[in-house]
């Protein structure tokens, strides 16, 4: 039996063992598969597994390692969110409407990780079309938080966060439209990073809201996040919104620490409605650690924060209402052979194929774009978006990076918010500003509240990934808080990791 310890490693640790010849890529995959067999029936992070992919990729990684041509991610187990297309692998965006769809192409970001030697383990669960903050909106089943199986892992990339948090994959990919990487990373106690809009190609990412979506990594260390992100980053001729601006400097001097840096704490974020005292305490502790590490903590303001949520819930649904129009049951995915005519087919397929939250957002977005309402809703929301950007511009004149909680709360019980969409929308209140402004942000674990992980969010200016990573790494080192892997085997997992 291959040691379960192999499922606890960072990229750096696993790569060292692989290169020393202590383990093979096949061993690493086997360790993960065995763990998945044991715990995924409880966590339910994965929708599908991809043995046909991992066998080939692990073989190739082992051959490259033997021949001394190993690439940066050679042999590293990777989990991929169900919104990222992989050639020949069923990709459904967590939706029944795409059941059976096997894309004839691979998303650029995923392909770049494959090219770097990563080994794909499987496809992770998510909220349908990435719409949600708990993964309960999956068209298939909810995912459970590895630290407390009765609670949600966050969302929409809940499956990816849970997979890394529970030792089912070394790294995972998610997408972040309003907080869908950072919030589940916080709730599951792992590192999650959303890059600057345009940093990573969106080609092959099944769109939710095109002007907000970005792909990013879940990892067990800040260094790992930097490595994975840098491998995906850069212009892609297939995505006109991707860019080569301000390339990332990886494994370089973002270990420079925070001494002399000014870190801004927006009062609107610090005192946000509904923030739990335990979360606030963890953030206070984190600020103290950063200060002790040499940073100056300054007070900043993002005055339009309150309007951000409203603007987001107009812009994102507006774009989604258009992006999801193509799912008509004619060319791929779910079909309705018995419909009497084409209009009826559209209606039946979309009624059956889309879940309640997706339908709600299509309705909201369609309404917001309709003639007579466009100016009052969509156009006004775009103006608010400009104001939010200016808020951040002004804040970054006073500080180098912004720090706050990632989520106002720790993981909540499954079912707690499903009947109240607005309370679910409030989960994103601290993260969606970064999407509206297109900024890079990361969530790193910063202790626990009631035994559940709390995340510290660090936001940087546009193209400021190096800076964000530097602050995150400084915090990680100074706090000595490193992501742990939840031990699902123990019935008392939650208490075991408390304090």
């Amino acid at each position: 039996m291959i040691s379960d310890d192999l499922t606890q490693l960072t990229i750096k640790e696993a790569s060292r063992l692989l290169r020393l010849g202590s383990i093979s890529s096949a061993d690493l995959v086997t360790a993960h598969v065995q763990r998945i067999e044991r715990i995924d029936p409880k966590v339910k992070a994965f929708l599908r597994f991809t043995p046909e992919v991992w066998e080939k990729q692990a073989d190739e990684a082992d051959r490259n390692i033997r021949e001394g041509t190993a690439r940066p991610l050679a042999g590293i187990p990777l989990a991929v969110k169900d919104v990222l297309c992989v050639r020949g692998v069923e990709t459904t965006a967590g939706s029944k409407i795409l059941g059976g769809f096997k894309p004839p192409y691979t998303a650029t970001a995923v392909q770049r990780l494959f090219d770097a030697g990563a080994v794909m383990i499987g496809v992770t669960n998510c909220d349908e079309f990435a719409m949600g903050s708990s993964t309960e909106n999956s068209g298939y089943f909810p995912t459970h938080n590895p630290w407390d199986l009765d609670r949600v892992p966050g969302g929409s990339s809940g499956g990816s966060a849970a997979a890394v948090a529970s030792g089912e994959a070394t790294i995972a990919l998610g997408t972040d439209t309003g907080g869908s990487i950072r919030q589940p990373a916080a709730l599951c106690g792992v590192v999650g990073m959303k890059p600057t809009y345009g940093r990573v190609s969106r080609y092959g990412l099944i769109a939710f809201a095109s002007s907000l979506d970005q792909i990013g990594p879940f990892t067990r260390s800040v260094d790992d996040a930097a490595v994975v992100l840098s491998l995906m980053a850069g212009f892609d001729p297939l995505d006109a919104t991707s860019s080569d601006r301000a390339p990332m400097e990886v494994l370089n001097n973002f270990g420079g620490g925070v001494k002399g840096m000014r870190l801004g704490v927006p009062r609107e974020y610090y005192d946000v409605d509904g923030i739990e005292t335990g979360v606030k305490a963890a953030i206070d502790a984190a600020l103290f650690i950063l200060q002790r590490a040499g940073a100056e903590i300054v007070d900043v303001s993002l005055p339009h924060t309150d309007y951000g949520l409203a603007a987001y819930y107009i812009i994102a649904p507006a774009e989604c209402s258009s992006n999801l129009a193509r799912y008509d049951g004619v060319r791929y995915g779910m079909s309705e052979e018995d419909a009497p005519n084409i209009t009826e087919q559209y209606m039946q397929v979309r009624r059956k194929g889309f879940g309640a939250e997706v339908r709600r957002r299509i309705m909201l977005g369609t309404y917001a774009l309709s003639s007579g309402y466009y100016d009052a809703y969509y156009l006004k929301a775009q103006k608010v978006r400009t104001l939010i950007k200016r808020d951040f511009d002004a804040a970054f004149e006073k500080c180098d990076a912004i720090v706050s909680a990632t989520s106002p709360t720790v993981a909540f019980p499954i079912g707690a918010k499903t009947q109240d969409p607005l309370s679910m929308y409030l989960c994103d209140v601290l993260t969606l500003g970064g999407n509206l402004a297109g900024l890079p942000g990361i969530s790193v674990p910063c202790g626990t509240s009631e035994g559940l992980p709390v995340g510290l969010q660090i936001l940087g200016p546009q193209w400021g990934e190096n800076l964000v990573l530097r602050v995150a790494r400084a915090y990680e080192q100074a706090s000595e808080i490193h992501p742990e892997v939840a031990d699902i085997a123990s019935p008392d997992a939650r208490r075991a990791t408390n304090d």
């Binding site: 894309p103 809201a209 008509d328 004619v330």
Partner: protein, 465 residues
């Protein structure tokens, strides 16, 4: 009874000459290519794919805008036009809404200046093929997405056109212009150019616009002319019978030679336009625009004015309306071919065939005709064969043994025979009815088909006086 004034604005869709589609690398299908053979994940609208702007299409749009004297704003962008239809794989068409590629140009049609409101870029939709003639009656419908994503320029005029003739002339002039600048082959029959007139009528002297109808399914200049004629009459009757014209889209039926109601604007779609988030706004490089402006060839209106200095208006109307004919004419004349005779030949013997000889061949042909070595009928055959085989006219003439008999001594015997067999006509001629000479020349060329008519005429005249 008051007179009616016709008011027409034109929306013309033109397929720019590009190798690939508007937003992907797919090649452009020929008219009869098998369905769904020019498609990829992008133009099929599969999940997760993104559009990338075709630079060649933007260039064709800019050239067109410049040739129409349009203003080109610094910022332009693409928008989504949302509606669901089986030929629209994404559920939206990428088009341009409030910041088009260009605005405020004009095109002169004779004395009439037609203002151009805008020229913008968009993508075409696919095609539905119904088993049966109408969608709701069809048992099955098929979708061909070869055309989905093919680039289109939409050229929208102000309602400055006042008759079916003007509308047709506008479309023809636009075609000439597009071909001249190389922006499009603009063949209406192949669907590379589609004209959709917006038509209304009003009492002469009124300044208010009437209710308009928009006509679709027009596949030729002739159809454009007839469809407008029909529609104007229809609207006139509706109003004169006390009714009101309904704002709607009407289709032209070529088979029935009438328009029929397709879609009432009362149930107008709400297209929910919004900026295409997958494409960054297009910031047009001024230098590029100036390069394109500098590289524009002589425009048809300018060329026509120049040709009018050499040729009669009737010939300029034909030659000046076709870039390829005008190029041929000028190249042949530059080699030394006689201007009017060459123009005449092009108008009567080249334009109707639709097949162009090379300027070298045309020059050679004109020289042989001019020197009296070839009859017109022979020249026509030589031209056809030269185009088909690529051999020079001289070679063909030599091979066929074509040549005109221009030597008087060879014709004298035949001329004397003609005079002997037509005593009545000879008598008439000598009494002063000199026009009978034509009949005599005719008789001579029947007996000797290769005879040069001018030499024959001179010879007969000499023998009779």
């Amino acid at each position: 009874m008051t007179d009616w004034e016709v008011v027409i604005g034109m929306e013309v869709h033109v397929q720019p000459r590009t190798r690939s589609k508007m937003f992907c690398g797919c090649s452009i299908a020929e008219l009869n290519d098998p369905p769904n053979t020019h498609v990829c994940e992008v133009c099929l609208g599969l999940p997760g794919v993104l559009p990338v702007i075709n630079r060649a299409a933007v260039e064709a749009g800019l050239k067109t805008a410049l040739a129409l004297s349009c203003e080109i704003p610094r910022h332009t962008k693409f928008d989504r036009k949302n509606y669901m239809y089986p030929d629209l794989p994404k559920g939206y068409q990428i088009s341009q809404y409030d910041l088009p590629l260009s605005v405020n140009g004009y095109l002169d049609i004779g004395e009439r200046r037609v203002r151009i409101r805008r020229v913008h870029l968009e993508e075409d939709t696919g095609k539905l093929v119904h088993a049966g003639d109408k969608l709701h009656k069809a048992r099955e419908s098929f979708v061909d997405l070869n055309r989905a994503g093919v680039p289109l320029m939409e050229i929208v005029s102000e309602p400055d056109i006042r008759s079916a003739e003007e509308a047709r002339d506008y479309a023809m002039e636009l075609q000439t212009l597009l071909r001249t600048i190389g922006a499009s082959t603009a063949d209406m029959e192949k669907g590379q150019m589609r004209a959709e007139p917006n038509i209304s009528i009003r009492r002469e002297g009124s300044s208010e616009l009437g209710v308009k109808t928009e006509l679709k399914n027009i596949n030729s200049f002739r159809a454009l002319f007839r469809a407008i004629g029909y529609e104007v009459e229809r609207q006139r009757k509706v109003i004169e019978d006390g009714g009101t014209v309904v704002q709607e889209t009407r289709g032209w039926s070529e088979a029935e030679q009438r328009t029929f109601s397709q879609r009432s604007k009362e149930f107008a779609e709400d297209y929910r336009y919004f900026p295409e988030p997958d494409l960054p706004p297009l910031e047009l490089d001024r230098e590029w625009i100036e390069e394109l402006r500098a590289a524009l060839p002589e425009l048809p209106s300018v060329r026509r004015a120049r040709l009018l200095e050499q040729l009669p208006a009737r010939q300029v109307a034909v030659i000046g309306g076709d870039r390829y004919l005008a190029d041929l004419y000028e190249a042949a004349v530059a080699k030394g071919a006689p201007a009017v005779a060459t123009a005449n030949w092009i108008v009567n013997e080249v334009a109707p065939t639709g097949k162009l000889p090379s300027p070298d061949y045309l020059y050679e042909l004109m020289r042989m005709l001019n020197e009296g070595n070839l009859t017109r009928d022979q020249a026509r055959e030589v031209q056809m064969e030269a185009i088909e085989t690529g051999r020079t006219p001289a070679e063909i003439v030599a091979e066929h043994g074509y040549s005109q008999v221009s030597d008087e001594s060879e014709l004298r015997v035949i001329a004397e025979a003609v005079i002997d067999s037509n005593p009545k006509m000879v008598d008439d001629y000598r009494k002063g009815k000199t026009q009978v000479i034509n009949a005599l020349v005719g008789d001579l060329t029947r007996r000797a088909p290769h005879a040069n008519r001018n030499v024959a005429r001179d010879l007969l005249t000499k023998l009779l006086t």
